[in-house]
Symmetry: D2
């Protein structure tokens, strides 16, 4: 019984990770985000890939009080002995509704090129994707935002960086074209949200769409540190978790 893996192995003197010597090649040489790149691609990123990845993950790591970060705070209130539980509870709320979209965008784009060919005209592919999804009654991941409208400030920033670093490729072109045709069809401006940009740029960086979700989840774990720390700083009595608990308790409307 053997457990084959590319991830890593320790010997008394060395720790190997994805073909690299952790001490010689990684510590001090790469960023934390690059560890996720290594996990997904089994090689170190180039300098531009590292910059792009950090930009993508920074943009998704934090978005204030979300159901996910509030769960982290409530869990910390009940289990302050276990910061890992607070972070884990926050991640569990990062499901299909809030973090799923960037994976679905990447899937939509990658599958479209697979189906219609890498060399087909982008406008033609966009039109086919649009028609297919409308016909099937499917939603468009990456479009719309409850607050950021008509523009998500992160979207153009990420595309600008991608352009500069050489990652604004055919997938970015396709999401932008689908978005354009979608707005025309609807007759109004609909936000191309950050998930749309991220899903496209990950695709242009040649990430498999199935890996996108776990990258996003990892970046959320980093963002959740702020919420654990803030609760510690407030102290139990003044913590957001405690205030929220009191508020809810006072406003329960119990109906038999």
């Amino acid at each position: 019984m053997k457990f084959p893996t590319k991830v890593g192995k320790s010997t008394p003197e060395k720790i190997y990770i994805h073909g690299y010597d952790l001490t010689e090649d990684l510590i001090g040489e790469i960023t934390l985000a690059d560890m996720a790149f290594l996990g997904a691609k089994h090689r170190k990123p180039t300098k531009n890939e590292s910059k792009m990845l950090n930009a993508l993950l920074v943009s998704v790591s934090e978005h204030g009080f979300t159901p996910s970060s509030v769960s982290t705070r409530l869990t910390y209130l009940g289990a302050p002995e276990s910061a890992q539980s607070a972070v884990a509870a926050g991640l569990l709320g990062a499901g299909t509704v809030y973090l799923g979209a960037m994976e679905y965008v990447a899937e939509m784009l990658q599958e479209a090129f697979k189906k219609y060919g890498e060399n087909e005209d982008i406008r033609v592919i966009a039109k086919k994707v649009l028609e297919e999804r409308v016909e099937a009654g499917l939603q468009f991941p990456g479009f719309g935002h409850p607050m950021h409208k008509p523009e998500d400030p992160r979207t153009s920033k990420l595309f600008d960086i991608a352009d500069e670093l050489g990652f604004k490729g055919k997938n970015s072109a396709l999401i932008l074209e689908i978005h354009k045709q979608f707005c025309e069809r609807k007759g109004k401006d609909i936000t191309l949200n950050v998930a749309g940009a991220i899903g496209a740029i990950f695709s242009d960086m040649e990430f498999d769409y199935r890996h996108v979700k776990s990258l996003a989840v990892a970046s959320r774990a980093v963002g959740l540190v702020a919420h654990v720390v803030e609760e510690m700083e407030y102290g139990r009595k003044d913590s957001i978790g405690q205030k929220l608990y009191n508020f809810i308790e006072e406003n329960v409307d119990y109906k038999k």
Copy 2:
């Protein structure tokens, strides 16, 4: 009822995080790890702080097949629809036994300076800490390693980087002195492990010891991406999770 916070706020055009404009000041400007720094310190790190933090978090993010990463794989086997659950399950095993030590090291050092004064001779403080803990029957966090002996390869690397970047300060000096006296007392070489170095360097970067655990947990989330991805690449049948499950099932020794 207001929810005060430094963490963040969104308006239709802007997302503010810890006093910064996410789009203008953070995306493309800082690394993912710096988001954790922001969360703990409410300011962007300097260039050297960012380098040091990335080195620390890279060094702790991955260590091959641990109970934590194996839980991630087993969870993915049962719930492939939910990558966030796989990552969360892995984090839950990152408790006192494997990830606690770096926090305890930081606590031991920070409390020692608080108790004995910032300006007391390091050798004197080390001696007192040593005697106190021996008397109280306490263990020494940061000392010993089941595999890496007599040296943990990450320890000297991290201290070298800390030295170069200006973060090898009094806490590093104290852990090294405690370690020296401890080995003398025991009459043999005992590993100063990576948790010892990390706890000391975080302290020299002026991180509150209570924040160390959540930083470590976040870095593990990034490391766990590799384990989720590898299971996807193997496919269910050949996944480590499935193999392990089969192996255990075949070797159950059931005793009434």
Copy 3:
């Protein structure tokens, strides 16, 4: 801002749950499983409903070393300070692959009666369901088992109890008929597994299929107690978690 709920409310003297006084009506009067019934149905079960529910949940609460219970043990190894994390980690592996089937069975049956009518001949409905799913390339939840073949010992037991207590109704008849026609079509005996029986009986008890998963998850939490306790009894060094960790570490086959 009010939070309407049927679940519960506390006053200094009383705790109300789903219209009942916890102290007067529930403690000492109902079983733990009945609390889940209350949650799903907003009323206490009859004596027969309680018996049936306990039988169903007992049958699914424990199945030895599964990926889920092994995650619980590995998590306990890393975080013995947090038994709740060990249980939670185990639940996270109770996803679509192992616990989803009973929900899918209930959905298949409930949707079939909705589509073809309560009064249509069972053989006709079964035939239609079968043809539909085969045509759509869908699998049959509740059929097949890697170990229990050609019969799952729990299946007939649960149907016997359901019959005795008055819960072997049209949904049970339908799953049995689909199973019969499925085996005829395949020309061989295929196990009707415990998930098939549970999904059908829950439907005959008039549970909404969407509630089945959380009931199953709750019963797994009860089963996981045994795994936490056994690890405590072995002690760290002899625990299954530790043995497994050592074994994997010794058998890592690292490939660059």
Copy 4:
């Protein structure tokens, strides 16, 4: 490499659990709560033990909107595809602060008898425990309640049932005596809360105090079903999770 266990084993025809045949001896014969008893004691409970255990677990399974159940609802909002995550997130908040007390009560009582002898006068033991804890600056688990004062309605109910079923023994006597002396010392009535009763009765049932936490956690999982179901019934837009999210977002008080 063998994995010894008392928990269970499957063969094609049989499933054995703790020495019993699941189909013959357990399904239809015992309650769900008894599975936890089996896990902790490796034998089926007597009829009275089963009644008592169900009463204890019913009393702790649900307490309305707690940080734990609110996390469950917020997690369901973000990840409706994964009911197990919602339940798990709720359990993660069931840490030392809310669910720890019953374990600490049981520990205090069991350790007291171990230290001072089974046959020592209860009043003497109570006095010693009281003095020891006051001197050490320790809190008294099981005493006080933010809402239920001067009496927790569950406490006397549970002691009445324990008395009737033969489980109101020396541990119950000790907690009641410590409580009496504690109130005299303070010169006022302080609530003996449900955790105090549960910790004592579990001890009188001869449960190891280290097992109490996981039993409590399991019962919470059952209680959380009601919260998942209610969110499903409301539907996303009207769910408590969504309302809470909106409310917090509108009331964020962001301070640079």
